[in-house]
Subunit: 444 residues, 2 copies
């Protein structure tokens, strides 16, 4: 995986039965490597792991990731082996895992076990994951939306380095602006809570907590041998720490996208633009339900909008109904200019204007990017991936290219309006509560 | 639109300025058509509509759809014109519209205004829509999931035939098994409620009600001049009528898919199968939150599963964790056979087993279809469309073909597990309540 990802440093395979692996000279034991070693990846069977960790310590290896599973999560014997590894770690080698996929750090040229095709570029998002599966699924999905990562750490059973250590590290990591995570159990509740509270003052922490329901808690126990915890307790943790709670990996990616592209905004006023009455009606319902404010437009602004939109089958109120999901680009330009120069709204959500998906070079795409650059206001797109006929595949290709173009221009693109609205509402709530907390008098 | 959709009957264009349109002889007025006429589509400017409707009545036309907008929804003058049309209708011609896209009825060879590319085949689902935009968006999205329609009626301002008439008609329409709808306002509340109650005893009615929030109600008023209604009142309508409530058009399609493929099931017991710990943990959380029951597996069943799944990094509990999102097809076969022959669960949800997306001819696809045919139990697939990189477009193509194959074999495919779970929970709740209602003693 290291070789195919293009790791530029020296790599020393260790295996007692081979003399060469992938063209690299292979050593029977760690101690036989002639040069100093920084970092080890261990994937021998569980029974052999403690001894290999001891050898790494003796060799002066600073840290190791143990990919092998079959420890605490399956048996008492596994738990005993894991404790043995932890005791060695305490003597001077830091351990990630066992039962994990390790570290993806594009800056350092390393990737997780199944991550050869993850992007080579770094970005401002970190993801810590007690799950190996999510450590690949989340960055893969996220990378399709232009999200790039500083570090992804699959930490598994966390016999040494745990979620708190990782949060603490990432809070100080200059490369990381947004911290995201998938958590099942927490080793040290008070420390975890205190860290969330502290870090949330400067960096958003977006967390998917697995195992909060009865069925989920049973599954968590089989997975990492953790206790799921009570939903009420976790509700309080999220509220009091201002960490951002998400309920599935789709929401985790949506929220990350919002934090990546949208700046803090006091009392955001949204203008939604759609093509069709029902589309704007349900857009209004969806925004209202998550608490996004759609201001009423003044008579003056409505008068400016009326000559721009069709005379019938349209609406100059908010949401603006441009009459059809495929309006002329000049109409969309006129609407956006009128609304933003009036100042009634500061954020525009374009809800499935279909012709906005006709390619990055299209006039429609240029209108959106031009308005974004001239006014500097947040523009949010909703481009669905739901016309899923097999004979529409070329259209899907164009849509994806258009999406990439918008993302490259700082216009976040969500798959449904409901998902966009929830993510923006979470973002606004985070910054509002952060402001409120920072304006409290110092208790000392 | 009629011609390009392939309407097989006779078509008479009427236009005072042309003698031929699309190669068809064109008549200056309706009265000039030499033969009897069944149905008229009217799209002249609003001011001229009442006169044309009168001419249709005089000609003996039985019904007409008025596509023209600019009536009650925009002005008092428009309202006056609409009342005039309604008065003519009362004399013996039935009207759909105005301000609508008309009727899509593949059996009769007719389609709505923008619907030339809708499927030519009929199916068991009806959709009534106060919105024209949704009358095209919903069948288009739905048809990508193999859903076929008996009738789609965009009825707009409903100056004559309204939502109640349509519900009544569809309740008796033998072609229609599932009724879906987008509703903004209702003309006759008591009749509507009574119809919902009655129809729900035999056919599911899935409704998206727009305009229930403050912002939504304002938008509804601009759209069809309806009153949105209070959320509390509508909550009661849904509960007491057993109509199925959905909040957006994605949910409407999801629920339709569930009703189409899944039979009524008493106390459904779900087994979820995923590849990876976190995936099964969040699957358990998602099912639990919507009230789907994931039974605990007996020790005996777990013992039968353990030799089938990987020794480590997997779980024989429910959800079953097969260790990786790409397990060997034989492993999935073994798991499904063990669970279904044990009888602990009756419904299997396969959550994003990625290799299940490697083409309709793949061994994995054949395993699923084979199990479905042999056991007859509901199998539900979750295949995401979220690996949305531009360079993954071929993979997306394969995925779509696989999805089509599963759908053709009676295996519903949802885009996310959360959406699948909500739809199945709604289906179960509908049938449970229908059973409970039908077992009540007759009040007479």
């Amino acid at each position: 995986m290291l070789l195919s990802f293009g790791y530029a440093g020296k790599t020393y395979p260790v295996n007692p039965h081979e003399s060469e692996i992938h063209g690299l000279k292979t050593y029977p034991r760690v101690g036989d490597i002639p040069e100093p070693v920084d970092f080890a990846t261990i994937s021998v069977p569980a029974q052999a792991v403690p001894e290999v960790v001891e050898e790494c310590l003796a060799k002066g290896v600073k840290a190791a990731q143990i990919l092998t599973a079959g420890f605490r999560e399956i048996s008492e014997e596994g738990e005993r082996l894991e404790r043995q590894v932890a005791r060695t770690a305490a003597k001077g080698i830091r351990i990630i895992g066992p039962n994990c996929f390790g570290v993806y750090c594009p800056g350092g040229g390393v990737t997780i076990l199944p991550g050869s095709y993850l992007p080579k570029e770094s970005g401002p998002v970190a993801f810590i994951s007690q799950s190996g599966g999510y450590a690949i699924r989340v960055p893969r999905r996220a990378s399709g939306l232009g999200i790039r990562f500083s570090k992804v750490i699959s930490y598994g059973n966390a016999c040494d380095i745990n979620e708190c250590d990782l949060l603490e590290y990432l809070s100080e990591d200059e490369e990381t602006r947004i911290i995201t995570g998938y958590i099942e159990g927490v080793k040290d509740g008070p420390r975890f809570f205190k860290l969330l509270q502290e870090i949330s003052k400067t960096k958003p922490v977006i967390l998917l907590k697995g195992g909060l329901t009865r069925s989920g808690a049973i599954a968590v126990n089989s997975h990492t041998g953790s206790l799921g915890g009570q939903e009420e307790v976790w509700d309080a943790v999220f509220k009091q720490s201002n960490a951002i709670r998400v309920n599935d990996h789709e929401e985790l990616v949506d929220n990350t996208l919002a934090f990546l592209h949208l700046a803090p905004q006091r009392e955001r006023q949204v203008c939604a633009v759609g093509g069709g009455g029902a589309i704007t009606v349900t857009a209004a319902d969806i925004c209202d339900r998550v608490g996004l404010s759609l201001p009423l437009f003044s008579d003056e602004l409505q008068k400016r909008l009326l000559p721009i939109i069709p005379r019938v089958g349209a609406s100059a109120r908010n949401p603006v109904d441009v009459g059809s999901p495929g309006p002329p680009p000049s109409m969309l330009r006129g609407v956006m200019e009128a609304v933003l120069s009036d100042g009634s709204a500061d954020t525009i959500i374009i809800d499935e204007i279909e012709s906005a998906a006709t390619g990055p070079q299209s006039e429609m795409a240029q209108v959106l990017v031009d308005i974004k650059q001239r006014f500097g206001n947040p523009i949010v797109m909703v481009l669905p991936v739901e016309a899923i006929d097999t004979d529409n595949i070329e259209r899907e290709d164009t849509r994806r290219k258009t999406r990439d173009y918008y993302l490259s221009q700082g216009i976040p693109v969500f798959l449904t309006l409901a998902r966009a609205a929830r993510a923006i509402a979470n973002l606004d709530s985070y910054y509002q509560r952060r402001d409120a907390i920072s304006s409290l008098p110092d208790p000392a």
